[in-house]
Point group: C2
Chain length 132, copies 2
């Protein structure tokens, strides 16, 4: 298996864990240290505990939309790699960066960020929205 195949397999495993709502698999995919995550619409989460807490909530959410991933593309430099893909969530496309680091021969996720692709979509804040 080439480096590229391996990192793309790690990326696919992330989405498999998501689809299967498999928290144990998701925990194993994330590295132990130096991790960060920006879910769509969220501020950054830094540190394994905060990130895994967020996934525990997301994977438990019965109305969480299913996620497809497409157009996976890898950039690798030594033991650092990024996979770019397009997530389709509820029919809407998100531009995603998944950063991996090779730790003891295994690609582990160190960063995830997903952001909406603005394809003929406009934001309209509702007049009654509140922070809490």
């Amino acid at each position: 298996m080439t480096d590229k195949d391996a990192i793309l397999a790690a990326n696919a495993a992330y989405y498999y864990a998501f689809q299967a709502s498999d928290f144990a698999k998701m925990s194993n995919i994330w590295a132990e240290d130096d991790v960060s995550c920006i879910h769509p619409g969220w501020p950054v989460l830094i540190g394994r505990q905060a990130i895994l807490d967020s996934y525990r909530d997301i994977l438990r959410n019965p109305i969480q939309e299913k996620i497809e991933h497409r157009s996976d593309t890898a950039l690798i430099s030594g033991n650092e790699g990024r996979v770019f893909c397009v997530e389709i969530v509820g029919g809407m496309p998100l531009a995603v960066t998944n950063c991996f680091r090779r730790v003891d021969g295994v690609w582990r996720m160190i960063h995830h960020q997903a952001s909406p692709i603005a394809v003929q979509v406009e934001e309209t804040p509702p007049p009654t929205s509140r922070l809490n």
Copy 2:
């Protein structure tokens, strides 16, 4: 200057180049290889040429909103580092990841992604929206 000071200075230099519409400075900030960029609402750009072309257009745009950056936070592991910050663009907050790699002792940008923070904002696609 500590590693952290140096990478935060590199991050500040990125925003300085932006504010000054200084394309030469922006070009120097980006690394030569292994670079990627996801502007808000855009799909990923991969490769120095595509990225610099996008910045040339953005920096030339007379109605480009000014950008402030706040809450800069660095995570460094060897010669790889990420800076997280909040950009304020036209009054709206964006969650940003700026990835840097130390090349010949200098932190150069290898990845930028900015995504809207959904604070009091909900997306409502207009009824006529189409994917293509």
